[in-house]
Subunit: 382 residues, 4 copies
């Protein structure tokens, strides 16, 4: 069995939980799970054993009850009644958003809260942790010493606190994997990568590659392979889920902009004026975001072509599907004693693949590298 | 020097001639030429030495004069005054289209016309032939014997007659390459491939991969790599150039439909309902076609996403850019004594890559295979 | 009460039946019903009393059972169990389509079948007939005498036979209205309009204005009001319902092309090259069609702008919503003794508004004319 | 003759000047001029007599020289050599933008600068003033007294100072018209409207209705006329001209947001969540902006449809074309002694039609009202 702890019981975590159980029951196909049955771990071996959140509306409820707010009753597996959301670490990660949130660190030292978590995990014995809390405004820390000092002072973000807690669990109990599916720099923080390595722990991150960003990467690769010269790119994103609401707050928006800004240049090999960022929040769109994009380029003989791409994408299921691979890849890495981070995995699954300063490559190239690293053959492309 | 003969002095050939001379003069960048300066043959070594057409309006004119109808005077290199369009083989290839066309085979045996061409070429000493005549309705022949019989009877299409003439030139004079950039099955005709091989001749084909088809291939690869399940694809194309006019004639349209129909299934590995074909002719769009596409797919947990892609693409320059690579690759193959056809080249540059029954693969994968075959390194993706 | 007979129990008729009952039950809002509560007839007064079809799968079934194939059980009103589909007139209207269809005229004279229908209607006492059979290939007839002769000979289409039957019912029983929501020329046939008038009967038609055509009309009006010069228009439609399947058969497709071809010129006042037609059939799209459109125009100072419009439109509900108005307007006309046809109603609700040779106008202008004719005030626009 | 003074010699003014002279020379058609030849004033009667700007790069140059930076030499009429740009009023209207700008009010009292302008105009004898300076951050003032006080104190925006100067010119010299084609509230400022009225002066404004806003208005009207229920609207705009650069500065962006926010509700009659605002600046797009829009609505029977609209629109020519009407309408108003403002004109030509609190209506309805007010018949729609 692969025991999984989910951090942040929002839409993504709920889609992951519901989808995973339905997969195990055979009531859905494994669409959206890139490596499907090509990994040695079966879906039936995956088990969510814990869930954490700071929203007062969620803490104490079962994932089943939380899922009912999103899905029709018949789509929610009964199995999810068994997992109750526990209170996690807040550290103002939901500040400014319309939620009543409290963290278990309130009124005491952060380290005490972390130790308590580690103790809980010692019982649960998780193999993999998934971080899918709402996008938080945060900078990298940089070194192990600095991380430890700031943990002591309580001057970290929630993701950093969780990441630290996981390394502590690895040091004190057993090796594990941490999947950082949000923009906070963990796999891109040299300090954290070192800490994970030292702790017999692996981190994959940062920021799960869903939506328009990986598509854009592959479109740019298509243009680069024909030596077409990209003139400009504009990409708009608007959605109605909590993540878009969070990104309406300028300091959180900057997190995404950073993630996306260097990808274009890395793939094309030259600078292009771009306007790529999550654009706004529009409640009725819900989780199915609206993406609009223009790419203009020069073709042969000085002619200019234009592409306009419009997409409607269910944001959370896309990431949840990737997580089904990532938890398995996390377990495999740990079993093989691979600690620190794994670029080939990050490069395909993450928008901002760690370690820091790793070059962004097109996702289709990352996919080949991933298969090669894993020794998997894709008969489709032979 | 690489000596080039162009067959069909339409938009593509004219963009090729103008663009190539401008490239050599340094007045344009080499955008749209996939392998740019990575091939051992420089642009300055490429020279058009002959041009053939059957349109009475073109035969006897210089490429310079023909180019003036499309380009502003200042964009047309003086050098193109030197090449005069000669009368080619018609065999009703423009039948039903609003052109006054005559072939040099009229009033005599086809083989006599072919022999005359071969004699001309013996003088010109071309290394590479490019076939860019208007899309013609034609089926494969299948065997060398059958080809020779039908040539004797005059029961072939213009492309088949040219292809045969080129093999004759190779047998009688010197090895050469034939680039079949239109849908007529030459590289997909086992008889022709054998004939090319026996004649110390190489053919690349069929149907240059420009426009929406290679883009669609790579978009499908992107979905396949995430195990998203494609539900349906519709793709519309409309343009105002002669090729769209020709495709308005049902028996010609079928040529493109064949080209595109199996690609989807080859790439995805399962059957998908599609509607992909050149849709119509709208004169004011000119050479800058309008493409509209929908792709619907299932993501994780049973959710459905939609992509809508709209593009404006200059049709002829895109193909002309590929030809700058293909003539060089043709010469390289001949120099290395590689005869018959080369799948790795066809797979990237052609919509319907020969030999027959070769599987369609995504263009991005074909690109890697091409680089590997050629021993070229793309530092962008390292 | 307004008693309604539906001819052709396909998607539109089923959406009409389901939607109308749900409206009466208050379980849906009246979105998509243009004149809502502004007409003197309430939704509660509308009652479907009969339904006709020729598909063996439908005849003898209740609308309730037919609706279950499209809707979830909870959405289908029990009331629809009360109406059983009767066998109608076929006359090969479904020829070439994958249905097993038979008409009550088979094996006997058409006029006998018509008389039998009229007898049934004498019992049912309908006020309004709705024709929503699948698009059929048919030309106008032109004169009353010719209509009568061809009815005797059985040389008419199903729509023409039904239209004739309705006039017979009007002459022999009571005045009624005939809503011709499909492309067959009835309100555009001078012979039929005269016959309707002589029979104390009113016809509205032809071809309900849903989908991209009315939108295009209003977009063109927008451009005309700014004196922008339209250069070209291409519009593609693809869907997966029976009507798209029917339009895949060339002689049926021509029906739509005729409908749409003169609209552009009428609205703009000059000729524009266009490519506007239902483009194809793609089964998985179902009733929610995909529309893609380009409009290019010259703005001031010689500059060229482009609009690209992509839409996903539920085809059948859109028409069903218009029918909720049209049945009421039919009853009102009959009550006021207005016979023949009514241009102001056709101009707004129909793609090809009768009488013949009536000019197409933008729908927004037709809307004003409609309100004026009906004496209705729209406080929104005051 | 109609003598015109242009304030702000940017792209719009330059397109206006070039287009107008080309129109007079007959070298372009009057596309983009809504009322074309339907007004009693001919294009040949229009004459630009003065131009003002504050950009040091422009002051002292002829419009001819400024136009050369945008147009090819052959497109720029020689006549434009005759008009030299004079220094105007700055009041920090270009603050924060990358221009070296100075105003003639610098180092002295604003009123002195205004008086000097009025003296110049007394010589030039303009009939119409056009305000097309870059979008400035400014609030309405509200009353005549307050305007006068703030003019004395120099606490106004450049547009307000110009508007005041024009009224002074009207009081002291002769009646004139002021076309406020930018978002600054002048026709929407009750104080200014009163001041214009008292001064025998007419103002049209505010914010010329080009781009996506008027199109959206008419699309919403189309939906409203069918009682379709709009669920949400998102509209993105990105361009590369100075106005987009200015709108990147948050306090200027707010000007546009205000303009657009109430239109939707006015037209539909109910509140709809929207995200409509100029989104960003992308230099290579230049003056041809990229617009992307989604509109979702409920159709009949609870079904949801989606429209996606993508447009490429030349921003400045569109407004310049409207100005050719507005200067003529300004002269006609003045000749008829119509002072203050004229709602019917503003409603069609302006995004935020004055007077204050006037309801936004669809542009197509405004067009009818305009024709009616002017006694013009549009034979197209009869």
């Amino acid at each position: 069995m692969v025991k999984i702890v989910v951090i942040g019981q929002g839409l993504v975590a709920t889609h992951f939980a519901v989808g995973l159980e339905r997969l195990k029951m055979g009531s859905i196909k494994d669409y959206g799970v890139p490596l499907r049955d090509k990994l040695p771990i079966k879906y039936s071996e995956l088990e969510i054993v814990g869930s954490y959140d700071v929203d007062d509306e969620k803490v104490g409820k079962s994932i089943y009850n939380i899922a009912l707010k999103i899905f029709e009753k018949k789509a929610v597996p009964e199995k999810l009644r068994e997992i109750t959301v526990k209170r996690g670490i807040h550290l103002d990660s939901l500040k400014g958003l319309p939620f009543k949130a409290h963290g278990r660190e309130e009124g005491r030292r952060l380290l005490d809260a972390i130790n308590e978590l580690v103790d809980e995990w010692r019982e649960l014995r998780p193999d993999v942790f998934i971080n899918v809390i709402t996008t938080e405004p945060v900078e990298q820390i940089g070194s192990v010493d600095e991380i430890e000092e700031r943990i002591r002072e309580g001057k970290v973000s929630a993701s950093q606190a969780y990441a630290y807690a996981v390394t502590k669990y690895c040091r004190e109990a057993r090796p594990a994997a941490f999947i950082n599916a949000i923009p906070s720099p963990i796999a891109n923080d040299p300090g954290f990568v070192e800490l994970f390595k030292k702790s017999n722990c692996v981190v994959f991150g940062d920021d799960g590659a869903t939506g328009a960003t990986p598509l854009t990467a592959d479109l740019l690769e298509h243009l680069a392979e024909r030596n077409r010269r990209v003139i400009d790119i504009a990409q708009f994103n608007i959605g109605g889920n909590t993540d878009f609401l969070a990104l309406d707050i300028p300091e959180r928006n900057i997190m995404k902009k950073k993630t996306k800004s260097t990808i274009v240049e890395d793939i094309l090999g030259y600078h292009v004026p771009t306007y790529i960022r999550p654009t706004g929040y529009l409640e009725p769109l819900g989780d199915k975001k609206f993406v609009a994009m223009i790419i203009e380029y020069y073709s042969f003989n000085g002619f200019k072509d234009e592409w306009y791409i419009v997409a409607r994408i269910n944001d959370s299921p896309a990431l949840a599907g990737l997580l089904v691979d990532l938890v398995r890849l996390g377990k495999i890495a740990v079993d093989k004693g691979i600690y620190g981070t794994v670029y080939e995995i990050n490069a395909f699954y993450m928008k901002n693949p760690g370690p820091k300063n790793a070059k962004a490559i097109a996702k289709t190239i990352a996919y080949r590298k991933l298969l090669e690293r894993l020794g998997i053959i894709d008969e489709r492309t032979m």
